[in-house]
């Protein structure tokens, strides 16, 4: 039965249901319990933003706080996965990948290939990403393109509560290492989420909105931004189709290309940077495989090639918004901006 719940609760519920279903599932990370060894209550935090709260009460032996030692515990996730567990480790902010990337890049991602197909590494690394909460340059980045670049791992970027639950369940059941990106500004987003467990297969894009005039490809929080833009554009007689790939690796090329074939126009909106990023990747895909369908040049809407700034006015200017997306769509459709819109 579906009921309204938040993106954050959907993630929490996915972990609880999978821990119930499979005793090999363990959760660990910094403060995922919160309060270990301290004089006050346990499960004081349940994760820095409360996403793992309540797991300790149900499964006290299968959720562990860690020292602030990402290299050790992300590596431990790889070793635990290769030796029989299905760990769900939490990297609090993806910006911290700098201190533990070897464990993903050279260990978990490559075991299966290097070992001639003889290893299975079913680990999930959940991690927070994204700008918009004034967290500044070291806690706000959208680094999924860096992981998408690495063969051997799968990369998931949900945009709704429904997708968050179904994709996390798939991540935990999946036999390959998965990096699961949670946009911190989406945690309170409510949506219809079934109470029972369900898995959304990887590599299957979601057509969030149908329209015949332009294809907008967007991920994570940018899906909402694209929807906002599409509403404005509909008022101007432009119908946008929004395709949310949901996973950047594997990527559902087919749905994206089919949509471009229908619309003949492509705008990619992304919160990751413009250079060697997700938007550039989708633009290259369209240029290589759908050039003949295109009626206009491809446009990408991304932040500039800069760190994420702190000051609210700067951060708001940095992140793509609906106005920028609408402007890009008008450009590729040749529509004039309405009066009063630059």
């Amino acid at each position: 039965m579906a009921r309204k719940t938040s993106f954050q609760n959907a993630i929490n519920e996915a972990m609880l249901q999978e821990m119930e279903r499979d005793e090999r599932v363990v959760v660990f990370g910094e403060d995922v319990v919160g309060g270990s060894g301290a004089p006050g209550v346990l499960d004081a935090w349940g994760g820095v933003l409360g996403v793992t709260k309540g797991i300790h009460a149900r499964f006290p032996d299968r959720i562990l706080d860690t020292p602030i030692s990402e290299a050790a515990y992300v590596g431990a996730a790889a070793g635990a996965a290769a030796s029989g567990l299905r760990p769900v480790a939490e990297l609090m902010f993806v910006d911290f990948m700098g201190v533990c990337f070897d464990q993903i890049l050279n260990q978990a991602a490559k075991f299966r290939y290097m070992f001639g197909g003889k290893a299975v590494t079913p680990m999930v690394l959940r991690t927070m990403f994204g700008a918009g909460i004034r967290a500044a340059s070291q806690h706000s980045q959208a680094l999924y393109p860096m992981f998408t670049h690495v063969p051997g791992i799968k990369v998931v970027v949900p945009s709704s509560a429904y997708d968050a639950k179904g994709l996390l369940i798939q991540s935990i059941r999946d036999d390959d290492p998965v990096i699961f990106f949670e946009h911190k500004a989406l945690y309170t987003l409510e949506g219809d989420v079934p109470e029972e467990a369900y898995a959304i297969p990887f590599g299957e894009a979601n057509v969030v909105r149908s329209g015949g005039d332009v294809t907008i490809v967007a991920l994570g929080r940018m899906v909402g931004v694209a929807q906002e833009a599409a509403k404005v554009l509909a008022g101007e007689g432009i119908e946008a189709e929004i395709v949310d790939p949901r996973t950047t690796s594997p990527l559902d090329e087919e749905t994206i290309l089919e949509s471009i074939e229908e619309t003949g126009r492509l705008v990619v909106v992304d919160e990751a940077g413009p250079r060697c990023g997700f938007a550039a990747d989708i633009a290259a895909l369209a240029a290589e495989k759908a050039f003949g369908d295109l009626k206009a040049p491809i446009r990408t809407v991304t932040p500039p090639h800069t760190p994420v700034p702190f000051s609210p006015v700067l951060e708001d200017a940095y992140v793509p918004d609906a106005a920028k997306v609408a402007a890009a769509v008008r450009e590729v459709t040749g529509a004039a901006a309405p009066a009063g819109v630059a």
Binding site: R24, V26, F28, D61, R62, L64, T66, P67, S69, A71, A72, Y73, V74, G75, A76, A77, A78, G79, A80, A81, A82, S83, G84, L85, P87, V99, D102, Q103, N106, Q107, K110, F111, R112, Y113, M114, F115, G116, G117, K118, A119, V120, P151, G152, K154, D174, D175, D176, G203, P250
Partner: protein, 331 residues
């Protein structure tokens, strides 16, 4: 204790002694032969030889079962052989053949066989300790008696992830043993330069776990210390850091001219610090094992390596379609 058990050195039966000697001899022959074969140009890539350090792999791993795990280093042939990886499969792997233990997709630096508990040689210095923390967690969660052992060099002991792992294993009370093979060099840099505080084992004090130093040329000393550390882990009493002082007979990699070493250094080590010579003297002088039995093992090891090289050279290379296989379980 049974009175029919043959006399033992360091508590080892003659059967255990012969097994230990065989492991060391096979590793030595494997490495000496690779040294010669590499010089012919037939072996692709980077090869790091373990010759000189055999007593550590043999002494530690003799305490492990197939379902215990080892995470190794770039200098990993000895650990893989001691853990029971197939000799022919390893040799073919090093030659890049499809018959290799990883179908020729890993090579010398990534030899692994999960069915034998060999979690891989590793091209990243210091990467093994975090992995065996995961093995320890698996054992703890599943309530098995399994143990994880990582090998790290003196160079790797200066990686942050090594130190992080000592702490994590201690605070999670994991059944893990961290073995440091201190051969005195991090690549071409002496530990006189690269480490502040020459005994890596002393770092254990800071984490409240036992730190033990043993002579890594002495099979019996390694065996005894490793037995205590592994037993402690199995009993649920937590991790140990075991530092084995050793030497390598070859360079960091094959082709290393080793001009950073003192003239005559290796010759002196071979003459005075050879674990196989030391072992032979210890067991034959007491009349415990006849020299002829050891000679027979020497001959068998030589023949085994000879055969494995011939098979590897004759084996087929991978089909080009193998480039694309086994990236994922399912994609």
């Amino acid at each position: 204790m049974s009175t029919t058990t043959p006399p033992a050195v360091g508590g080892l039966t003659s059967q255990e002694l012969l097994a230990g000697y065989r492991t060391m001899r096979v590793i030595r022959e494997f490495e000496e032969r690779l040294h010669r074969e590499f010089a012919t140009g037939e072996i692709p890539g980077f090869v790091h030889l373990y010759a000189g350090e055999e007593a550590i792999a043999a002494g530690v791993i003799s305490h492990l079962n197939d379902d215990d795990y080892v995470a190794s280093t770039h200098r990993g042939h000895g650990h893989a052989l001691a853990k029971g990886c197939d000799v022919d499969g390893m040799m073919a792997e090093i030659y890049g053949r499809y018959d290799g233990i990883c179908h020729g997709k890993g090579g010398s630096m990534h030899i692994a066989d999960l069915s034998k508990g060999m979690l891989g040689a590793n091209g990243i210095v210091g990467a093994g300790p975090p992995l065996v923390c995961g093995v320890g967690l698996t054992a703890r969660i599943r309530k098995t008696a399994q143990v994880g052992v990582s090998f790290t060099g003196d160079g790797g002991s200066n990686q942050g992830m090594f130190l992080e792992s000592l702490n994590l294993a201690a605070v999670w009370n994991l059944p893990v043993v961290f073995v440091v093979e201190n051969n005195g060099y991090a690549e071409a840099t002496s530990n006189e330069f690269h480490s502040s505080g020459l005994d890596v084992a002393k770092r254990a004090d800071g984490f409240g776990i036992p730190g033990v130093v043993v002579d890594g040329h002495d099979f019996f000393a390694v065996h005894e210390a490793a037995g205590e550390a592994i037993g402690r882990a199995r009993r649920g009493d937590g991790p140990t850091l075991l530092e084995c002082k050793t030497n390598r007979y070859y360079g960091h990699f094959e082709g290393d001219q080793q001009t950073y070493r003192a003239p005559g250094e290796v010759e002196e080590l071979r003459a005075t610090r050879d674990c196989l010579d030391g072992f032979r003297a210890a067991v034959t002088e007491g009349g415990l094992i006849a020299a002829a039995e050891l000679d027979a093992i020497d001959a068998e090891a030589l023949a085994q390596i000879e055969s494995s090289v011939a098979r590897a050279k004759a084996a087929a290379v991978p089909d080009l379609s193998e480039v694309l296989t086994d990236v994922y379980v399912d994609y």
